[in-house]
């Protein structure tokens, strides 16, 4: 096991997700995400984890809502050629083949935003403003994730610092492998509904792998028909999977020109 890389992935059960927003707040608190006095302009509001609100578009009383949490998809593309990594001119974001995580180095980033243009999931956020913490609030900042300066891009890293900490602990205990529960993202841990499952897609014993059944021959496409990914057709090969029993939700996961699906939705 130890000599082949890990590939961390996530499965979000949209039937269980209630849209409460805990994953968003857990992420902000874990990762020192800044906040402004007015965050109502969602186009400049940094939320590494963002919960989208999908609707079936039917009139009252047949209206239905589904919440869809969207972290960084940690796209693998083809062999690590994720949409954003290949375009970054300064290697400020990189695909880590030992974990499958797309890293982000804010101090390397000089803010060209090309990666944001490349990402179809809008998972990347730019620091348009100086991060300012009100008096006293700096005390709650975690030293494990550096606060970012204005003018750089930031995004979800699957709480990579937690992986590092878990690996350090394992190293001190002379272990090479992590237990499934040793490394979990902040959102997974916080989700009060238990809607998020996180683990190593290369480890057949991990729950996420058992449920998803990633098909390595096809970029990790789920073998489980109840599981799907966002924008499967684009070949981004994300490592965030979703499941829902609702047909209309599954249909909104991807565009399907051939069937005329979603052609008029935009």
């Amino acid at each position: 096991m130890s000599n082949h890389g890990k590939k961390y992935g996530m499965l979000i059960d949209l039937d269980k997700c209630t849209g409460c927003g805990s994953c968003m707040v857990a992420c902000m608190a874990e990762n020192n995400v800044p906040f402004k006095k007015d965050e109502s302009n969602k186009l400049v509001s940094i939320t590494w984890m963002r919960v989208y609100r999908l609707t079936n578009g039917k009139p009252f009383p047949d209206t239905e809502i589904c919440y869809l949490p969207r972290p960084c998809m940690q796209c693998e593309g083809e062999h690590g050629h994720s949409p954003c990594v290949s375009v970054c001119p300064a290697v400020a974001t990189d695909y880590d083949f030992s974990t499958g995580i797309v890293s982000q180095i804010p101090t390397r980033c000089f803010g060209c935003r090309y990666c944001m243009a490349a990402c179809p999931y809008h998972a990347r956020y730019f620091n348009w403003y100086d991060p300012i913490w009100p008096k006293g609030m700096k005390e709650s900042l975690s030293p494990h994730v550096s606060p970012r300066m204005r003018g750089v891009v930031e995004k979800c890293t699957f709480c990579f610092h937690r992986y590092q900490q878990a690996m350090e602990k394992a190293y001190y205990e002379s272990r090479e492998e992590l237990e499934e529960n040793e490394y979990q993202t902040a959102c997974t841990q916080a989700c009060p509904a238990g809607a998020i499952i996180f683990g190593d897609l290369n480890n057949p014993d991990h729950t996420v792998t058992r449920v998803v059944g990633p098909d390595d021959a096809h970029g990790g496409r789920p073998k489980n028909p109840a599981v799907f990914r966002l924008l499967e057709r684009l070949g981004t090969n994300p490592k965030v999977y979703y499941t829902s029993t609702r047909e209309w939700v599954r249909r909104q996961a991807d565009n399907d020109a051939a069937r005329g699906e979603n052609a008029g939705r935009h």
């Binding site: 965050e39 109502s40 009383p61 300012i132 606060p147 009060p192």
Partner: protein, 713 residues
């Protein structure tokens, strides 16, 4: 040597060229880029959080009635992250938005940092000694003048040690006016008391239910103990249980429900009794209830005469076949449960509704059954000796109802309340008719707020006494809200107090001491911690080690349910408000996990999760059905005036199919005037637009919706 112009210029050029060849420019360029990582010494300097020893402290969250266990990660003495506590019986690792953002409440700028005294145009800082001696002096004056009963106290803390200390303080002082902010538990306990003869809070075993019939309860919008509800919901998804949400708005609970039943607001009790009609008519009810219950025939008669599906359909807007089907599905499901308490359950409901829901559970044989209801006796672990001396005798008279405060105070020349204590509550924001209450409170000569935060009530007080924030103190957290078995959790200091605050219990003990005499004698403890340990006595060790105590009392049987109380309530129930041309719409508030409408303000992180269809800059949106929007010429995103008999406000329109026609909805928790500029002056406080409505049976304020109109601005 004489330096001429030519040689000087040559020298300068040489130096410049020479410097350019050294590593200096490169070094400076590099330094400059490193500087951009923090912008050091600039106003926009990016902090570098200091590293240190990592530790984890466990405690219990007391920000909402949920009482989740929390693990707080610390770096040296700084708390840096709150997480759900694994294995804790309430939440088992899960945690909600507010709990996660708790550090913003601890370290935020809205904390009151030292005792404050109102003076012209603001507050002045005073010492604790001065504050306590001035307040005790004024209280003793009242007492000397025989006005002891004119002192009142409002608290959200309730029945835990601190709450009971406040109650004791009032009792020994000689006032009956200890007022807890009422919640749905009070309505349920009242209903249970009338129907079962024992006042206890009904608790629901949601986890094991097969069919959950919710009358507008925001089970996934903050009801009860929110994290426990999310976990129960996930279990329903796993084991195929059905959730039915009766509500006019497509709340998150309705969105996750298997069946959404939009009902006219205020007719929930009618629908519940309509279902009961079908169940009893078809003989689907538990025969034991009919056999053992009192006045079951009168109940049957009531159902027959007034709650036939046709009549119920007309009143509720739910079609007849649907009523029939709901009733049958509910009654035939193996472990059904019915529940009420709208939104987050922080408001009392009509007695008839509470009784109807208890009756439905009884008809389904749900009492003391897995996946059903049980009535829990109020936890009883605080046993203090009765206060001695004169003080104990004086505490009599009728208790004030908080929603009556304005009319009482405004009614007479001499306000019946001369001094008001508010502890861990923000009635000037959270109660219906908040502006009227603010006006009344303004007339009270002495208002003392014991608060961690500069909330609306603190801002209106004469004295603000800063109490420790929830992460700085010991507290027994009594968890009854929506839990199937009551629990006492232990909140303990996670960090050292950051400011000059004190424990609310200590403030009360000190105040009693400053007042002297028998009041002082009734508070023999050295300090709050001492008081808590003595109170818990031999339970302290378990509480301290485990972090909680299960306080399950004896089972209360439902067999002898007295339906007469329900029949009486139905008679007393005022007829529903008819159509009214001036107020064609019904405005209902809604609760959400992303906006907190209680006495704790929504922290910045949580506010960040609020959608831009709820709040845009300073404007709150009112949800409007497309049909309603067309009828009143309202366009999506446009400003509008919202008017109710209680007030008028400028809002924006959000046209959505997720709400019934003629009903409009607005979130609670916005429209703060106090706190700080992250929260203040955003949106409208819906409690200012809704006046209190007194339940004819219980006397509690049961307002939820209000008649309204909406016009384009």
């Amino acid at each position: 040597m004489k330096i001429d112009r030519r040689s000087f210029l040559s020298l300068a050029a040489g130096v410049a060229a020479g410097t350019a060849l050294t590593p200096l420019p490169l070094k400076l360029t590099d330094d400059l880029s490193i500087w951009t990582q923090t912008f050091r010494y600039m106003p926009n300097e990016v902090p570098v959080p200091p590293d240190g020893a990592v530790s984890v402290a466990t405690s219990v969250c007391s920000l909402c009635p949920g009482g989740c266990g929390i693990s707080v990660r610390k770096i040296d003495n700084r708390a840096v992250k709150i997480e759900g506590r694994q294995g804790y019986p309430v939440n088992n690792g899960g945690i909600c938005t507010l709990g996660l953002a708790g550090l913003q409440l601890l370290y935020g700028p809205w904390r009151v940092q030292e005792p404050l005294k109102k003076k012209e145009g603001g507050f002045e800082k005073i010492s604790w000694d001065q504050a306590l001696s001035e307040i005790s002096g004024r209280l003793n004056d009242l007492r000397r003048n025989g006005k002891s009963p004119s002192v009142a106290a409002i608290t959200g803390a309730g029945q835990n040690t601190t709450g009971r200390l406040l109650q004791r303080f009032l009792t020994v002082f000689g006032s009956p006016h200890f007022i807890r902010i009422p919640a749905v538990d009070d309505s349920l306990a009242f209903a249970a008391g009338r129907m079962l003869g024992t006042a206890g809070v009904p608790a629901f075993d949601f986890e094991n239910s097969s069919y959950v019939l919710s009358f507008g309860s925001g089970l996934l919008d903050g009801w009860g103990s929110p994290v426990r509800m999310f976990q129960a919901h996930s279990r329903w998804k796993e084991n195929g249980a059905t959730l039915v949400q009766v509500e006019a708005r497509l709340s998150n609970t309705a969105a996750k429900a298997d069946v959404w039943v939009p009902v006219k607001p205020g007719t929930e009790a009618t629908l519940a009794l309509g279902l009961a009609h079908v169940i009893v008519r078809d003989g689907l009810h538990d025969p034991a209830i009919e056999a053992a219950g009192k006045a079951f025939d009168a109940f049957r008669e009531l159902l027959k005469s007034r709650y036939a599906p046709g009549a119920v359909a007309r009143q509720t807007g739910v079609e007849e076949p649907k009523i029939e089907k709901l009733a049958r599905d509910f009654a035939r499901s193996p472990r059904p449960v019915a529940v009420c308490g709208k939104g987050a359950g922080q408001d009392p409901v009509e007695s008839l509704e509470a009784m109807a829901v208890l009756a439905l559970n009884a008809l389904a044989g749900g009492f003391n059954r897995s996946g059903g209801v049980r009535i829990n006796a109020a936890p009883d672990y605080i046993h203090w000796p009765e206060p001695e001396g004169s003080a104990a005798q004086k505490s009599n008279g009728t208790r004030l109802d908080v929603h009556r405060l304005p009319e009482l105070i405004n009614g007479g020349a001499q306000p019946p309340v001369q001094a008001l204590f508010v502890m861990e509550a923000n009635p000037l924001f959270t109660l219906h008719g908040a502006p009227a209450l603010a006006g009344a409170v303004d007339k009270i000569p002495l208002v003392v707020s014991l608060s961690s935060y500069m909330d609306e009530t603190a801002a209106a007080a004469d004295y603000v006494l800063p109490v420790h924030a929830y992460l700085e103190r010991y507290e027994d957290v009594l968890i009854t809200a929506g839990l199937k078995e009551p629990l006492v959790g232990l909140s303990r200091p996670v960090v050292k107090p950051k400011f000059g605050s004190r424990h609310a219990g200590d403030v009360l003990i000190d105040l009693a001491r400053a007042m002297g005499d028998d009041v002082a004698a009734a508070f023999p403890w050295e300090n709050f911690e001492d008081c808590l340990k003595q109170t818990m006595a031999d339970k302290w060790d378990v509480l301290s080690d485990q972090g909680y105590l299960a306080e399950t009392g004896p089972e209360i049987p439902a067999g002898g349910m007295n339906f007469a109380a329900l029949v009486e309530s139905a008679e007393l129930q005022p007829p529903g408000q008819g159509e009214n041309g001036a107020w064609p719409l019904t405005l209902i508030p809604y609760d959400s996990m992303r906006l907190w409408g209680g006495h704790i303000g929504t922290p910045p992180f949580v506010l960040k999760t609020v959608a831009d269809t709820v709040l845009k800059q300073a404007d709150v949106f009112v949800e409007v059905n497309p049909v309603t929007a067309e009828r009143y010429h309202l366009a999506d995103g446009r400003p509008a005036f919202l008017e109710t008999p209680a007030g008028k406000a400028r809002v924006r329109v959000h046209v959505t199919d997720g709400i019934a026609p003629d009903v409009i909805a607005m979130p609670r928790g916005l429209g703060h005037a106090a706190y700080d500029d992250y929260l203040a002056e955003k949106g409208v406080n819906i409690n200012a637009l809704i006046g209190p409505v007194e339940d004819p049976v219980s006397g509690l304020d049961v307002a939820w919706g209000v008649k309204a109109k909406l016009t384009t601005a």
